[in-house]
């Protein structure tokens, strides 16, 4: 008979470990209710608004923050309700989210990936944010999206236009309402062909970072498909302020069209320089020289002043749209702040409402439940017509606006005119399209 090692303490320890082990599956099965990162336990729920409050996109960030504050008001039943009145889903009742009053914390991305990750991390770990949203840069969006995936919270992207956000860098916990480079190309190309013909020689100046590359690829691909020839594509440093040495050789190249794959300060400066050099007054190959800005923003158009007149581009949304959703949002935002909202404000406001609605429909704040509610969700009444949150890549598919700098603006906000509302069918692509190749959504992560 061997002597056993059983002791009272040993039995208790073994029992405790076995008990914990047996209880674990029960705990995990309860994850859909409580077992996720920052599960709200009191009468409030905290959202994290991660926007550029300093740095070059601070004005755009300020507009995003205004939109989020308005969304919180509307979610909590204050104000006129804005787009809640026009949103096709009626799950939201103006009593917060799942009956919990919505509160928020803010972070400053500084339009730097590391700073944006640090502020998002702080809002998740210290402030208990259950969802992170906002931003004005694809680099930031990709970085914060990856962080949210790891942390087990939902990321509702703000202004991010690079294909990669819902392409090679897509994540199961991340969702983008804003359109992308491919959609800009698909919407712009037919309008350009109709206005400038199919026999053009294009010269691209491209911001030397991720968004610039995908935008150049998208515009080249779309314009070459309709007969344009790309003469040259030159990368310009992101920190460049004077583009004269890049613009001066354009006329010598034989190009008759300049495509500025620039955004923000880069766009303002390169367009200003191009107009200064008189490119738009020149005739090349028997045609009037033309300039194209694939991604327009009203705030940036304001910076470029009169230089934007007559120049084509694309945008996600514009305050002059006359659908009921847009009118309700403009009325609500304009009454509160005294000026119309930007496209950045619009996409952020919509993202906040879409998240809240998904939680209501899921009946849970658990990220995987929210993902399930958003995937394949079709909605209307949010300013872009019928919209689908595609399950394959978490990209919204909706109409795209082709716009042009207005010749005779009636106010400082009236800078762009809508040339065409490109139907969603024309900008839809297959999930495995080469411009979105690589990467995988993976599985949603509840964290905790």
């Amino acid at each position: 008979m061997s002597k056993g090692n059983l002791t009272r303490r040993g039995v208790l320890k073994t029992g405790a470990v076995a008990g914990a082990g047996l209880a674990l599956p029960t705990y995990l099965s309860a994850a859909s209710h409580e077992g996720f990162t920052n599960a709200p336990t009191g009468s409030t729920v905290t959202l994290g608004f991660n926007v550029p409050q300093s740095g070059p996109y601070a004005d755009e960030g300020a507009d995003e923050l205004r939109a989020y504050e308005l969304a919180v008001e509307h979610l909590n039943g204050e104000g006129d309700g804005g787009m809640l009145n026009t949103f096709s889903s009626k799950a939201l009742q103006g009593n917060g989210i799942l009956g919990k009053k919505v509160e928020y914390v803010t972070g400053d991305t500084q339009t730097k990936s590391d700073a944006a990750r640090a502020s998002a991390k702080s809002m998740i770990e210290k402030d208990g944010a259950v969802m992170i949203t906002g931003g004005s840069s694809s680099g930031v969006a990709v970085a914060v999206q990856a962080l949210c995936q790891e942390a087990g919270v939902i990321f509702m992207a703000g202004l991010t236009h690079s294909n990669d956000t819902t392409g090679k860098d897509k994540r199961a916990n991340g969702f983008r309402h804003f359109f992308n480079s491919y959609m800009s190309g698909a919407a712009l190309a037919p309008v350009l062909a109709a206005n400038y013909g199919t026999d053009r020689k294009a010269y691209h100046l491209t911001a030397d970072y991720n968004w610039g590359y995908t935008t150049e690829e998208a515009i080249r691909s779309s314009t070459e498909a309709m007969g344009w020839e790309t003469i040259a594509a030159v990368k310009t440093p992101l920190t460049q302020t004077d583009f004269s040495s890049y613009i001066a050789p354009v006329l010598q190249s034989g190009a008759d069209t300049l495509v500025l794959n620039h955004y923000g300060g880069n766009m303002v400066n390169s367009l200003t320089n191009a107009v200064q050099f008189g490119l738009r007054d020149k005739q090349v190959n028997g045609k009037d020289f033309q300039i194209i800005v694939p991604l327009y923003s009203r705030l940036m158009a304001k910076g470029a002043g009169a230089n934007v007149k007559g120049i084509f581009g694309s945008t996600n949304w514009h305050w002059s749209l006359q659908d009921e959703g847009s009118k309700a949002f403009v009325q609500s935002f304009g009454t509160k702040y005294g000026f119309p909202p930007s496209q950045a404000a619009h996409t952020c406001y919509v993202q906040a409402l879409l998240y809240a609605d998904a939680v209501e429909r899921a009946g849970s704040f658990a990220p995987c439940a929210v993902v399930e509610a958003l995937e394949g969700f079709e909605f209307d009444g949010m300013g872009n017509g019928k919209t689908l949150y595609r399950a394959d890549d978490h990209q919204c598919f909706k109409d795209v606006l082709v716009v042009k700098g207005k010749e005779n603006p009636s106010s400082e906000f009236d800078l762009l005119e809508i040339v065409e509302v490109t139907p969603v069918e024309q900008v839809t692509y297959a999930p495995d399209h080469p411009q979105f190749a690589g990467g995988a959504l993976g599985s949603c992560n509840n964290g905790a």
Partner: protein, 343 residues
């Protein structure tokens, strides 16, 4: 050949800005021995003097537009500038159109005042401190100044166009026998280059041909001896700080039509301007001007597609590479004086 001429022309206006900023930096370093990292901020403040005057001249009152509504459905209004009321619409529009050149007069007293306040209020306390302390405090000051500007003017660039008479470009190629449109150069950039040449000439003439300038030059060479002669050199150096601030400010004013000003524009020029000062030779005014134009033109050449195709990324580093080569072969820079920053 036409591409080479084009890049030389392109380098001239950028070189003009570098030269003007570096000239001010060298004046301050040569007189006060201070490494002023807030000098880029003075360039930026000058640009915002133009923005401010432009806004002042455009101050308006609202007039209702019968039968039209704004974006909220309220009765629409349009802004009528007060200068239209005072001078009539034609003259008023011309005054607003010429806001940038008029800003020169507006900016000179403001920039001198800013320079003197900066020097008397803060920088004079750091004369005898190590250069590292000076750099830290002036860099901090630059950040404070740009944040103040951002607070009041926002982060976005603000369009400040040149007068309508100077829009468009000059077909330089057609004049010298090349095909039309091969060498074009914006009129305002020609104005900027000419303006920079006049300012640089005026500063040199001031230092060379006036008694004040002679004392300052003597002070730069031997401050103690000048003081022993009973001359209050500190007062003159303070005035020189104000003058250097005015030079940077005027460079900023005239630069606004080239690139829409934003709060960060000073920082964009600061580091390169310091490289210009070092390459030109610390304390050497002609060196600063020469290096400014040289590096401006080199940067322009390095941005040519043909060059980038051969050496990718060269446009980002050319100035620093040239600086390394020059400092290895001429440690005091192109025209540096012996003994400056060598103690």
């Amino acid at each position: 050949m036409d591409a080479i001429i084009l890049q030389i022309l392109n380098g001239l206006d950028k070189g003009s800005a570098y030269a003007l900023i570096a000239l001010g930096l060298t004046l301050i370093f040569g007189t006060l021995g201070v490494v002023n990292f807030a000098h880029g901020a003075l360039f930026m403040i000058g640009a915002f003097c133009a923005v401010t005057l432009s806004r002042l001249l455009s101050l308006s009152h609202e007039v209702a537009i019968p039968g039209q509504t704004d974006f909220l459905g309220n009765p629409a209004t349009r802004d009528v500038p007060y200068v239209f009321d005072i001078f009539g619409e034609t003259v008023g529009a011309s005054i607003i159109d010429w806001a940038v050149p008029l800003s020169i007069l507006f900016a000179i007293p403001i920039m001198i005042l800013v320079g003197v306040v900066m020097e008397r209020g803060l920088i004079k306390h750091f004369y005898k401190r190590p250069h590292a302390d000076q750099i830290l405090v002036t860099f901090g000051l630059a950040i404070v100044l740009q944040e103040i500007i951002k607070y009041y003017y926002g982060a976005n660039p603000i369009p400040t166009p040149a007068p309508a008479a100077f829009t468009g470009s000059f077909d330089f190629g057609a004049v010298i026998g090349f095909d039309p449109n091969t060498i074009i150069y914006p009129y305002w950039r020609l104005v900027y280059f000419a303006f920079a040449a006049v300012i640089i000439g005026a500063v040199f003439a001031f230092l060379q041909f006036t008694t004040f300038g002679m004392v300052v030059r003597a002070g730069m060479a031997d401050r103690e001896t000048v003081g022993l002669l009973g001359i209050n050199i500190d007062k003159r150096f303070t005035i020189m700080f104000g003058l250097a601030a005015a030079v940077a400010g005027l460079a900023g004013v005239m630069y606004t039509p080239i690139n829409s000003p934003n709060y960060h524009m000073g920082m964009d020029f600061l580091v390169l301007s310091f490289v210009v000062v070092v390459v030109g030779g610390m304390g050497s005014l002609p060196g600063a001007v020469l290096a400014g134009f040289l590096l401006g033109i080199l940067e322009s050449f390095a941005s040519m597609r043909e060059v980038i195709d051969i050496i990718p990324g060269i446009n980002q580093v050319i100035i620093y590479l040239v600086a390394i080569v020059i400092l290895l072969t001429r440690p005091r820079g192109l025209m540096g004086r012996k003994g400056v920053m060598e103690d």
